[in-house]
């Protein structure tokens, strides 16, 4: 496995948490500035947005998709009184891409209060996107009161269990997980034994060279336990994926971009299209962050993901709504 050596980008891991200071600062900068992030065999490179490296080099067999997250339709407080407008801008960004992405992943908190009208609005807005399909996973705001029944009726009719599923696109295996149900007091996100069992079985038949993309709402790596930014049993889930050459985990929930490489797994969180949340521990709580109106759009955004077949790598491009 020659790319194994290339994956080691952590030069100064002072806290033994897999993140060095330089890498961390780089990650934090993407949220505000908007940058093209290319991950090749685990090695991370970033480019300015006006240097659309991947777009120019993308070939016919490459896969390009977009991740959006946390649209919180129905939210109308000071942090963003018009979440419809910002979601429209996000869709405008997607439609302005040089080539239409294959599909859109929405990593949850589609709505703010699980109201049917909020789901309807998002569905209506997404109809104007050039991408053909949208794949969802639920956030905790989408399963209020009914344990996700309405969510599954809308988006998960062919899903398993409480809404988890997998599919294949151009040789890449995508796995959508649900970690926002049956949460225990004092705990974080949870996958549960039934879903873990399904996951183990789902990847059993795949060849070890199959690239895997896992997407779920709450991060599958522990970012900040005090705020519940992690998933209790994610280590078990990731253990089923450790033998694969390339695994990418895409999450939402924390309304900011963060990235981490751990062994064969690259973790990435996306910004919200609705409102920003503070950096871990930077505020008394993870509630919506009020920023001056002229700064809001620089803290919201979409993530373009490119899989380049011959390079065996995923490129993640976070762009803000500005």
């Amino acid at each position: 496995m020659p790319e194994q050596n290339d994956r080691n980008i952590i030069l100064h891991d002072h806290n033994h948490d897999g993140v060095d200071r330089r890498g961390f600062l780089k990650c934090m900068a993407w949220a505000g500035a908007g940058a093209l992030c290319v991950v090749q065999g685990g090695v991370l490179k970033s480019y300015a947005l006006d240097d659309p490296f991947m777009m120019h080099k993308a070939e016919k067999n490459d896969l390009c998709f977009v991740q959006i997250s946390d649209s919180h339709m129905g939210f109308n407080k000071a942090a963003n009184p018009d979440v419809v407008a910002t979601m429209k801008i996000a869709i405008g960004k997607i439609n302005a891409m040089p080539a239409a992405p294959e599909f859109i992943l929405h990593t949850g908190d589609i709505t703010h209060l699980s109201k049917p009208s909020e789901f309807d609005t998002v569905d209506q807005l997404l109809k104007s996107a050039r991408a053909k399909d949208v794949f969802f996973v639920p956030g905790e705001h989408d399963v209020l009161e009914d344990n996700g029944q309405q969510y599954r009726e809308r988006y998960g009719k062919s899903a398993k269990g409480e809404g988890w599923y997998s599919f294949d696109k151009k040789g890449i295996h995508f796995i959508g997980l649900v970690n926002v149900l049956n949460l225990k007091a004092g705990g974080m996100g949870s996958l549960g034994p039934e879903q873990l069992e399904w996951l183990e079985d789902d990847v059993r038949h795949l060849s070890k060279s199959t690239p895997i993309v896992v997407f779920a709402h709450i991060p599958l790596w522990t970012i900040y336990p005090d705020w519940g930014w992690g998933t209790e049993d994610s280590a078990q889930a990731l253990s089923y994926l450790k033998h694969f050459g390339s695994v990418t985990v895409l999450n939402g929930h924390i309304h900011q971009t963060m990235q981490k490489v751990e062994g064969n797994i690259t973790f990435h969180t996306a910004t919200s299209t609705a409102f920003p949340q503070p950096h871990p521990g930077a505020a008394p709580s993870p509630g919506p962050m009020k920023v001056p109106a002229d700064q809001l759009r620089s803290l919201l955004g979409v993530t373009d993901v490119n899989y380049v077949r011959k390079r065996h790598a995923l490129a993640l491009i976070d762009s803000t709504l500005e």
Binding site: A78, E140, E145, L183, K184, G186, G228, S285, G287
Partner: protein, 115 residues
Amino acid sequence: MKRMHGIASFAVLAMALLLAAIPLLETPALAGPPTAAINIDNFSFTPPTITVKAGTQITWTNKDDIPHNVVAEDNSFKSKVLDTDEQFTMTASKPGIYMYYCSIHPKMTGKLVVE
């Protein structure tokens, strides 16, 4: 003249009824059950632990811009989802120690002691 007298009588009667009604309206508030308030603010229950006498009416108020709920770990009580400024009120009737949390944000926990 007779008619005027009738109106005057009515006015006196109405006044008397009104005066009588004032203490009636005030009485329930004075003699009502004891109350207690818990705020939900910054993803926390404040105060995190509260001790009340059985029969106390407890009201949780969500002051956050994010919805929360109030769920007993033993499922003995559960609120609907509370959006900003919405309240959940219940009467704590049975003595005991109740651990509760927000099932949407389970890091939020509280303790209710009913004596």
